[in-house]
């Protein structure tokens, strides 16, 4: 045990002495969270809105004025025709179009109910959600005023929300689960495979293998620091996204951390596997980046929704552990899911871990024979 502790200490020294390792470990996660967080802005101010008011009566003018005087929206255009809606939205500066049909006033007068439309540009999902939420709130507020002043009572303007271009609004709040998933697999797999192949390349691995340390102790000793640091990273990312962006964890934090540990374990065993098949650090880096980082970004559902993937990509994606972890973490963080909702994905990741460890041991034995 004493031999082992000395060995782990040495591994920490490697990490803390290497500026680049530290940057990859702690700089990248922080920067990614901040970039994703601030680029995907949560504030709405002076969003450009066009109006298509075919009814053009007192009520519609009052609603338009209320929306534009809120400070959140700015009127850019008064459209004349439905055909113009697509045109102004495609130009790009108009985020949404608010439409009153030509029978809006008549409906409201006759039945006390009328429907208006809010069409938002779904290609920027976050802004689109914000716009529709804010507009809906303003209209609800207007309903209350109308209710109080109107003599007939129970007058209702119903906003009908439509998303153009990205009706499902995938991507909303996805960046934190995505960044955690990406960072963990990157740090764990990339860093472990590098640190192990580095010993091979420098010839120190031979010396360690000839020493009384058991091969299992060598590998454990090498991955242990990365396990600890990755776990600290998870906490750091969660804290950052909560403090800076107010993103809460709706489900159990303990469950979230436990799932993260399992995923870290999976990534570490993947890193060990990569190190058993690569002879040089370059090879390990190449396999980790091309084989892990790109698929994780492109195919795990981090950026592009899995539902929209053509068949073959869906198949490739289904063997990627990040796909399942993103689901788990999204469900726990955003939907507040419990273990009974994510056990299937958890089991898949656990099985993958077992497979990776098994393959690594086999490769390692072959090498030692």
């Amino acid at each position: 045990m004493k031999r082992f502790i000395g060995f782990v200490k040495k591994e920490f020294l490697h990490i803390f002495r290497d500026f680049r390792t530290l940057i990859i470990l702690f700089g990248i996660p922080t920067v990614q969270i901040l970039i994703f967080g601030f680029v995907v802005s949560m504030d709405l101010k002076d969003a450009n809105v066009a109006f298509l008011d075919l009814s053009n009566d007192e009520i519609t003018r009052r609603i338009s004025d209320k929306i534009c005087s809120s400070g959140f929206f700015r009127r850019t255009d008064n459209l004349r025709d439905y055909k113009d809606v697509d045109r102004v939205m495609k130009k790009g500066d108009t985020r949404a179009v608010i439409i009153f049909g030509d029978n809006f006033g008549r409906d409201l007068a006759r039945s006390g109910r009328a429907t208006m439309s809010i069409i938002a540009d779904g290609s920027e999902p976050n802004t689109a959600t914000l716009i529709t939420n804010y507009a809906t709130a303003i209209i609800t507020d207007f309903n209350r005023e109308l209710d109080r002043t109107a003599r007939i009572g129970n007058i209702l303007v119903q906003p009908e929300v439509r998303m153009f271009y990205n009706p499902g609004l995938k991507g909303h709040f996805m960046f934190v689960p995505g960044v955690i998933t990406l960072i963990l697999i990157l740090i764990c797999a990339l860093m472990t495979s590098i640190t192990i192949t580095r010993e091979k390349e420098f010839g120190t691995m031979e010396v360690l293998l000839v020493s009384p340390l058991k091969p299992s102790q060598i590998i454990l000793g090498k991955v242990m620091p990365y396990f600890l640091l990755s776990f600290i990273n998870v906490i750091l990312i969660l804290l950052l996204s909560w403090l800076v962006f107010g993103l809460p964890v709706r489900g159990s934090i303990a469950l979230l951390l436990a799932e993260s540990m399992l995923y870290i374990l999976m990534s570490l065993s993947l890193g060990i596997l990569i190190s058993t098949i690569s002879k040089t650090m370059q090879q390990a880096i190449f396999i980790s980046l091309v084989g892990l980082m790109l698929p994780t970004i492109l195919l795990s559902g981090f950026i592009f929704p899995i539902e929209n993937m053509p068949g073959i990509y869906d198949v490739v994606s289904s063997v990627l552990p990040p796909r399942y972890f993103i689901l788990i973490i999204k469900n726990i963080m955003i939907k507040g899911a419990g273990f009974s909702d994510v056990w299937r994905e958890t089991l898949i990741i656990a099985l993958m871990t077992a497979v990776f460890i098994g393959l690594s041991i086999r490769n390692f034995k072959v090498r030692l024979q």
Binding site: K2, R3, I5, G6, F7, K9, K10, L13, H14, R17, D18, F202, G203, T204, E206, V207, L208, L209, V210, S211, P212, L213, K214, L368, Q369
Partner: protein
Amino acid sequence: MAKQTVSETGSTGVPLTSNTVITVRNLVKKFGNFIANDNLNFEVFRGEIFGFLGANGAGKTTALRILSGLSSPTSGKVMVAGYDAKKEPEQIKKNIGYMCQKFSLYNDLTVRENIMLYGGIYGMSKKLILERTAKLLERLQFEEYGGRLIADLPLGLKQKLAFSVAVMHEPKIVFLDEPTGGVDPITRRQFWEMIYETAARGITVFVTTHYMDEAEYCDRISIMNEGRIVALDTPANLKKQYNADSVEEVFIKIARPSPADPGMLQKNPKGNN
């Protein structure tokens, strides 16, 4: 030659005398159909400097891995430091030191940290490590380098340090796998002085090398060719037997390149001497 006589009378796998630290009997190692070690037999004695020569691919590395407990023999009996290489490789590992061709200390750790690390791995107490560290640094006149990173030291110093670290835990045997590759002649000479001192302390030195002048420094040398040991004796006796002026001549006469490995001779250029 007295030692040699003892080995010739031996017939079992049991260590012949208390002076035998390595006994190899009918060692065979196969990888599939390929026979890397074909029926090796030899002994190495306490305090001896044993040169292990052979062209690249002759099976040296395989034998070295078996002797150091990294790999298991297919058949035959191998005893190292009193332990069976097949059954007790872990015990062997505790009783040997090892230094390889590639440099074997950590560049991003200081001299002291490297020493602490290896001392710890070999189960030495902290007190003992500190004691030996002080002695070791003094012997190498290294005191002022203790806190320096290995990366900042010249290669010659690194190699000397690596050797000192490899024998710090007073192993019964130290295996040196081409320890002087890329080192200048002066450092090489100093390195060999260290090897002599170590052997005089009773530590057996088992060394592979491609430098034929270094082979002359060994007490005995064995030459491997195509998985077999084709010669084993003192350098003087071998030169007499093969009617050669130097070990290099002996080597070239014995270890002729097989057609499959024409590049072998280039690994042992005359210019190295």
